[in-house]
């Protein structure tokens, strides 16, 4: 093997090593800890400037440095993504390196007959006497089979050789969880490219809005209904939502919190609501949403004035200002829900309603991500709760010599103790039966 090949081989081994995995896991842990200590920028780019201005009040001169380090957008920062990518490579290398060994272990017929020197290699060793080869062999085989060990036995020159194992598939647990972790990480990386999300989509009652993103559908929300407990606290929020394809309603469902409407892979989640108004003049109707409590303006061509409408904090009435074309205040006052007022001879009716806030999302990675997480869980369960144990036994007329490897620890001594006392217990049981 040339120096370059050896170097590459060593690099490949190091890339898939548990040691590197531990270092990367610790680094990811510390990176997440650091990131969780700073506020993270919202996904919506439209609010970034306002958000940064608010953050600057808290961090002052350090804001620019912290932003340059990516700490306000840590989970998308190059250093965080590089860490994730390295962990991904490590998991991939580990999986590829383990697979051939695992396949050999699972598919090869184990060798039961081993030379005497073989038994000296193991830390787990035990010996005990037996009255005869036949008795000792039968007792050991019965007890191991009772303990769900798969046994392979061969006899040569008056010596019986046994190979016993259990939990063979337990070794596959780590591989399963690594493949699942790879899949999860890949989905996380691919998610921004495959999915989209629109937050804070505002719908007024009766208003239709196209879904966009190359879809030919639109949605129209009905009025919000709030069910309340006797004490007045909200119990449930309900909004009828209609999906329109072209102009025809295709699907109608009452959407509630935790119960979105999903149509052709696009999910509509009810997020919040706020006060809205319907302003009706003889010519037309205006629907206003008072987002964040901000006043809204209505321009009336006839009689050529502007109405500035605000909703009162308790949401039961309006405060209306009438402004002429020169910007002069013509008059102002509180208007009750459903009240009609006359402004320069024009009757105008103000009606309270509510707008609803929606999150519209399309995320084809969700199903595979749940599947990968379930696979990760299954792999962890197999790896943690199915111990892989291998035993080699050499039985002759004098006694049994047993060695073992795998997830044994104290279980080896327990098993050896149990096997060595089989005869005692069988005699005890015989006496009891008699």
């Amino acid at each position: 093997m040339s120096t370059a090949t050896r170097l590459l081989h060593n690099l490949w081994r190091a890339l898939g090593s548990t040691r590197l995995a531990a270092i990367l896991l610790a680094a990811l842990l510390l990176a997440s800890l650091l990131a969780s200590s700073f506020p993270q920028m919202p996904a919506n780019p439209a609010v970034h400037e306002r958000w940064l201005a608010a953050v600057a009040l808290r961090y002052g001169h350090a804001t620019r440095l912290l932003r340059a380090l990516g700490l306000f957008d840590a989970y998308r920062a190059p250093w965080f993504l590089a860490l994730l990518a390295t962990l991904l490579l490590n998991t991939l290398a580990c999986t590829l390196q383990r697979w051939p060994r695992l396949w050999r272990a699972l598919s090869r017929r184990p060798i039961a007959v081993r030379p005497d020197a073989f038994y000296l290699r193991f830390a787990h060793r035990a010996e005990w006497p037996v009255p005869s080869l036949a008795d000792g062999l039968r007792a050991v085989q019965n007890r191991l089979a009772g303990r769900r060990y798969r046994i392979q036995a061969e006899q040569r020159q008056g010596i019986a050789y046994l190979y016993a194992e259990r939990g063979r598939w337990g070794r596959a647990g780590t591989l399963v969880s690594h493949v699942a972790a790879l899949l999860l990480a890949l989905l996380l990386v691919a998610r921004p490219a495959l999915s989209w999300q629109e937050s804070e989509v505002i719908l007024l009652p009766g208003q239709a809005r196209t879904v966009g993103h190359g879809r030919d559908s639109a949605v129209r929300a009905g009025p919000l209904t709030i069910d309340r407990y006797p004490g007045g606290e909200p119990r449930d929020y309900r909004v009828p939502l209609v999906v329109l394809v072209g102009a025809s309603p295709t699907m109608t469902r009452t959407v509630r919190i935790n119960h979105p409407l999903t149509f052709r892979g696009v999910a509509f989640h009810l997020q919040a609501y706020g006060p809205a108004a319907r302003v009706t003049t003889p010519e037309r109707t205006f629907d206003l949403a008072f987002v964040a409590g901000q006043a809204q303006e209505v321009a009336l061509a006839d009689p050529g004035l502007t109405l500035r409408v605000a909703v009162q904090p308790e949401g039961t009435a309006f405060f209306v200002e009438a402004i002429d074309a020169n910007g002069s205040l013509l008059g102002s006052g509180a208007v009750a829900d459903g009240q009609q007022v006359e402004v320069q001879g024009t009757p105008i009716t103000f009606t309270l309603s509510r707008y609803t806030v929606w999150q519209v999302s399309h995320d084809p990675t969700f199903g595979p991500a749940v599947g990968a997480a379930a696979l990760l869980l299954a792999g962890a369960l197999i790896s943690l709760w199915v111990p892989y144990r291998r035993l080699w036994l050499r039985v002759d007329a004098q006694g049994v010599h047993m060695v073992g490897t795998g997830d044994l620890d104290d279980a080896f001594d327990a098993l050896a103790g149990e096997l060595a006392h089989i005869r005692d217990s069988e005699e005890e049981e015989g006496e009891t039966d008699g």
């Binding site: 997440s32 200590s37 506020p39 989970y75 004490g231 119990r235 990760l376 869980l377 943690l384 327990a414």
Partner: protein
């Protein structure tokens, strides 16, 4: 039926007595722990019936559930559980009989775990203001079939992982108890880690239904990931000779710290740094 302050007080006294009994290596500790868990289950069931929802919402109810999860972990992972039911001849075999040091270690871990369950109940009753203990109407956001599944798995997982931390503490504090403590630490992580993973998986499904995204780097989500990474690290290092013993015990203790911070510290961090979290209410 035990309910309200009486139920939690009685359960707390049982856990405390169980801790004392285990500290004296008395098997009655297991019975006292079981009695405490039964009383606390009754108290939670009574609260659930009064509230008309699963009592797994808010800090107070989760503290009670966490305490119950901790006690149940101690009972389920008790190495002596069921031994008396086996045949006497089998129990008498040298290989199956636990050593004196192992028994001492197991009792010490049980004592520390039961003390932790009692401390959680004490925090719930004495550390939280009355309005946080009062039954509140269920908010629409929590009215979901995923509530008992996601939060229940978290409470059980946290309980087992708290026990692993208690075992780590015993390992570090008492030389003579190390054998039993190490074995229990490994079993507790083996139980808690899949439960924590299950809780994250169920939380993903719920988050997708509620918010349209299954992972959003929310503060609580990130801290759950940090906790999960601690135990993933534990599992990768547990077979490495250099890490066995002291270092793993410290790691289990750090894991318990992460669990407690995810439960109690995330809210404080959110307020201190001015973070938003959909999990804080």
């Amino acid at each position: 039926m035990a309910s309200g302050p009486v139920g939690t007080l009685a359960a707390g006294v049982c856990f405390l007595l169980a801790a004392l009994a285990h500290a004296r290596r008395l098997r009655v500790g297991a019975w006292l722990g079981a009695a405490g868990a039964a009383i606390l289950s009754g108290a939670l069931a009574a609260r659930g019936l009064r509230a008309d929802y699963w009592p797994l919402t808010g800090t107070y109810e989760f503290a009670l559930s966490f305490a119950l999860g901790t006690a149940l972990a101690a009972l389920a992972l008790d190495p002596g559980r069921g031994r008396s039911a086996r045949t006497s001849s089998r129990a008498a075999r040298p290989g199956l009989r636990p050593s004196g040091r192992e028994i001492e270690g197991a009792h010490a871990v049980q004592a520390a775990t039961m003390a932790l369950a009692a401390a959680l109940l004490a925090y719930a009753r004495l550390g939280l203001p009355a309005f946080k203990r009062a039954i509140q109407p269920l908010s629409p956001a929590l009215d979901s079939v995923w509530l008992p599944l996601h939060v229940g798995a978290a409470a059980l997982g946290y309980g087992a992982l708290a026990m692993a931390g208690a075992a780590g503490l015993v390992w570090l504090a008492r030389d003579s108890a190390r054998g039993g403590a190490e074995r229990l630490m490994e079993r507790a992580v083996a139980a808690g880690y899949p439960l924590l993973t299950l809780s994250v998986l169920l939380g993903m499904v719920w988050a997708q239904a509620a918010w349209g995204r299954y992972w959003g780097w929310d503060l609580k989500e990130t801290w759950t990931l940090i906790t999960w990474l601690v135990y993933t690290l534990y599992w990768h290092l547990r077979r490495r000779a250099r890490w066995r013993g002291r270092r793993l015990a410290w790691l289990a203790l750090a894991g318990m710290g992460a669990v407690l911070f995810t439960f109690l510290g995330a809210g404080w961090l959110a307020r201190a740094v001015g973070l938003e979290s959909l999990h804080l209410f």
